[in-house]
């Protein structure tokens, strides 16, 4: 199945996962690229997005698999036609004939920005470094069935760098597990709020930068 790499930025970060699927289905239609449909009582156009992205997080490394219905456009042309039909903030970067199996997708390189309105301090940086240097940091997670579980997030962080960016921001740059198990990057913020309540940021946001397989080779 062909695959495309796209980014989701700017105002488009507020579009939810389900709405984004619909948005792509319509964009394919507007671009004159008919999709095949799923079988069944309620056929749906076949598009699927690898890692659902939470609302508010921007990304340069989203993966979408699709299947065209008897259309033989070249990959570059598919990209151009889709970009004409998409909204600001959602842009197709590359189209591939075939992608790696989704099950090999393992790691996410991301950056979390912690904003401190009264200024970020070096003490905060070292306190956060100390926190992620521990053996165990437990954060509550709601499972699909709705129960609350305590999850040790340290085992899901392969690498993390904490640094100050300008007057007001502390940046976490982390390589974390994104599939089996999955760490939502915002859980790192929840850990700071829980363990370092005095260092709770006034606002936090996150960006996905790149995705990798388990050997840290870029995943496509």
């Amino acid at each position: 199945m062909p695959r495309l790499l796209f980014e989701k930025k700017g105002n488009a970060v507020w579009i939810s996962h389900l709405d984004l699927m619909r948005l792509f289905q319509r964009a394919f239609k507007r671009a004159g690229l008919p999709l095949t449909h799923t079988q069944g009582y309620n056929p749906r156009p076949s598009v699927s997005i690898a890692l659902p992205l939470s609302v508010g997080i921007d990304s340069s490394c989203e993966i979408l698999d699709f299947d065209l219905d008897g259309e033989n456009a070249a990959n570059g042309e598919i990209r151009e036609r889709l970009n004409q039909a998409l909204v600001d903030g959602v842009r197709v970067l590359e189209v591939y004939n075939e992608g790696q199996k989704i099950k090999f997708l393992a790691l996410l390189d991301c950056v979390v920005s912690l904003e401190y309105d009264d200024g970020a301090s070096d003490e905060t940086v070292s306190a956060i470094q100390g926190l992620f240097g521990r053996e165990e940091v437990l954060v509550e997670k709601k499972t699909k069935s709705g129960e609350i579980q305590n999850q040790n997030i340290i085992s899901m962080i392969r690498r993390i760098m904490v640094s100050r960016k300008g007057q007001n921001t502390v940046e976490l740059r982390a390589l974390i597990c994104c599939q089996n198990p999955t760490l939502n990057p915002m859980q790192m913020v929840a850990a700071i709020e829980k363990y370092l309540p005095d260092r709770k940021p006034d606002f936090a946001k996150c960006s996905r930068l790149e995705i990798y397989d388990n050997n840290e080779t870029i995943f496509r």
Binding site: L18, R22, A85, T169
Partner: protein, 611 residues
Amino acid sequence: MTELINRILPTVQKPARYTGGEYNEIRKNPDEVRVRVAFCFPDTYEIGMSNVGMRILYGVMNEMDGVWCERVFAPWGDMEEAMRANGLPLWALESQDPVKDFDMVAFTIGYEMAYSNVLNMMRLAGIPLHARDRHDLKGIVFAGGVCTFNPEPLADFFDFFSLGEGEESTVEIVALYDHAKAEGWSKEQYLKEVSRIPGVYVPSFYEHQYNEDGTLASIVPLDGAPGKITKRIVENLDNAYWPTKMIVPSTEIVHDRANLEVFRGCIRGCRFCQAGFSCRPVRKKSPEVLYRNAVEMLENSGNNEITLSSLSTSDYRGLKELTDQMIPYCSEHRINLSVPSLRADNFSRELMEKLQTVRKSGLTFAPEAGTQRLRDVINKNLTEDEILTTCANAFAGGWNNVKLYFMLGLPTETDEDVLGIADLVYKVIKTWKEHAANKKRAVRIHVATAYFVPKPHTPFQWEKQITPDEYLRRCRLLKGHFYSKCIEYNYHAPDLSRLEAIFARGDRRLAPVLEEATMNGARLDGWDEYFNYSIWFDAINKCGIDPDFYTTRGYGEDEILPWDTIDVGVSKRFLLRERHRAQEGVVTPDCRHGCAGCGANCLLKEVACDA
């Protein structure tokens, strides 16, 4: 640092409805436009973006040189709270600029229970509520939509109203503003001139005087204002603007599909229905133009569903020709074609079978009344026979779900009529037993009753509304006669419909009630989550208003009505005649079986009424 709005967005539900940026949104350079219009819909994004009228006028205004029209919707409660906590004024989606900085603020108002949203949006925008407190030409506030056929409860808050269809008049209104702004006119000068545009009603040019019993004594036009304002219509729909490059929302809305209006007006004349009378005369659009519009809309939007809309789509003469063209196109492009509000005639049954997309779950009838006698009174020409025949066919074809909608409190209704609803429902169940394709699957009958609200510009505009207690008694009476487990009966709580009745036939003395209720937190009244009757009840009491005056009292036939200044084409004489026929239980055949002489054809100069 992240700006305030981007800090708020992650904390609210469905943030995409506040950001704009959808496909086909219209952006212009503010330095290159002369008139900026904030077009406000007094409900949430999901409701407002489903409104065809708003999409038409958005396109019409943005086609104008030097004009940029942007959209504004009511925020959901969580966003409203965040806006108030952070001092964020209401903004327009396209530019994200505050509404208070716009030249013109326009509202489209489709139902009475949005009035609190209108006022609340003005408050959130930081616009003074009363027209008399707004002194400049800039920030002039006007409204259109079906509620403006009796705009009196809103008269204090609006500078003017645009009555009827806005494709042409809106252009005239905005162009005049463009001229006025260039010439540096005062607001007074603009109002004087805009009132000369046909269909424009400036409420401050009229004085309403009352008798001691509270009824209207006179409506006095001031300074030579016209005695009657006639609504505007578009005569030739084939030549009228139709938006084929519509905004495609990035988040799901209520009617998430392309919507094509096939004709305007209605030939039916159900005596309770405001749209049926106030949207006359009947004007057709040709199947060729409609097909072209449909293809363009679908190609430009990427929608996978299109609906053919109108007040009664079965009555569109070109329906066969249009669907014969559309069905092949839609099946080739995997598009669902939906044709709602079909009547139970033979062609419609054939069409339903051809539209394979029709899910086997839905079959909806609105008999409105339980006995033929009462259906004759309201002129709803749907017979028991038609309902049962259609049900029999549908059940044989595998359907097993029927929805039946009724009203309680219709004029002349007795307990016998109420129990007639139960009878009809049992006949539907009996029909199912006789015809069901698969009797192992149970039939579900959903019955819903609404509380009748008399509306202006209908033959029932003079009628009494029954009391809430009497309405509930009739609901309980009916409920007591539903024994079968396959019946699900829902009835609307009476509070909302009582308020709707107050404002539908309200006058200018209700303005303080609206203001008081809004100040005390009334908003989003169409939503169960937010509707709070006690706010309204307190406001009505505090303002010394007697709700019964507008509801259970009924209006006298020789009484001056608050909406008498407004002419929707249908004559008062005709409405009165229809009222008397209702009282005698005499039906009036639909307009195709002979013109009943409603008077709306007088609005036409170029073409004849297509009834």
